[in-house]
């Protein structure tokens, strides 16, 4: 006979929500276990410190718990939960003194003349991903993401780390699909530029 947890983990998110709305409040634990790691990671990358990430995590799940009865089944639970998390992140950000530096302009992120002369001989893109993703580069990636303005950072995390579609990301952040695509493009270009500078030795990891 399977335990209660083993059965719950086979249910879709929205089926768990229905059970919650029918009074089975302990199913919320299963929803928490599905999203707690992802939300904490996003919170840490958005807020930049563990205290704010913890506050954001707690605020998100408490608000979700209190709002579960109002959740409508036609929505997607993960999108709704990340909407709440996005608002919590914004509140944490307002409390924070951290302010990213000015991002490069689009022209600076494009293939400039200096880079045109050297890029074809730079071989960092030929190294296997798993080899590249060592501890130092991980630190550079964290730093790169942290340097992005928060609206670009949020889109990069939702699209490329969390795997939400452009439409879902637009719903989460309250922006059009074209705005999501534009922000994602700028964020990726910025990340590429920063990694390229690191690989050329012009940026050092603080990890």
């Amino acid at each position: 006979m399977q335990g209660k947890g083993a059965m719950l983990d086979k249910l879709q998110d929205n089926e768990l929500v229905t059970r919650f709305q029918q009074g089975q409040h302990d199913v919320f634990e299963e929803l928490v276990s599905r999203y707690v790691g992802r939300l904490y990671s996003m919170g840490l990358r958005m807020c930049g410190n563990t205290d704010d990430a913890q506050d954001m995590l707690q605020e998100t799940f408490v608000a979700a718990f209190k709002g579960m009865d109002a959740f409508r089944a036609e929505a997607k639970f993960s999108v709704w939960l990340f909407q709440i998390a996005k608002h919590a992140c914004m509140r944490m950000r307002r409390k924070s003194k951290f302010s990213p530096r000015e991002i490069f302009s689009l022209d600076e992120l494009a293939l400039g003349e200096d880079e045109r002369k050297t890029l074809s001989v730079v071989d960092w893109h030929r190294t296997p991903i798993d080899e590249l993703l060592n501890k130092e580069l991980q630190g550079v990636l964290d730093e790169t993401i942290h340097l992005l303005p928060s609206d670009l950072r949020m889109v990069l995390l939702l699209r490329d780390v969390e795997g939400f579609s452009a439409e879902e990301t637009g719903k989460i952040i309250g922006a059009s699909v074209s705005a999501v695509k534009s922000r994602l493009h700028r964020a990726r270009l910025f990340a590429r530029k920063h990694l390229h500078l690191y690989c050329q030795g012009e940026v050092r990891s603080h990890a």
Partner: protein, 93 residues
């Protein structure tokens, strides 16, 4: 699309235009015609090809980032907060 048509479009595309389409190209959102034109352009423009390769590598690195470990104390405090919510909800009913 015939090779000659792709070559014709590619010959008119500037490096800057390629650059503007890159995310849609990587995400598979461009028409076959434009994809072929970009590939043809890049075949004749090594810096653009290297730029695209480093752009794709960057996206793969971002996507493959491991999740941040969740400290047990954070999970414990979250559970405590949710238990308080559940008790309050149960008492209210």
């Amino acid at each position: 699309m015939p090779d000659s048509k792709a070559k014709s479009i590619a010959s008119k595309m500037t490096c800057k235009e390629i650059f503007a389409f890159l995310s849609e190209y990587v995400d598979g959102e461009l028409s076959e015609e434009l994809c072929e034109a970009i590939q043809t352009h890049n075949g004749n423009c090594p810096p653009c090809q290297a730029f695209v390769d480093t752009f794709i590598t960057t996206i793969e690195l971002v996507k493959k980032q491991p999740a941040k470990p969740l400290p047990p104390a954070v999970k414990d405090e979250l559970n405590a907060a949710l238990n308080r919510c559940r008790e309050a909800l149960d008492q209210a009913r």
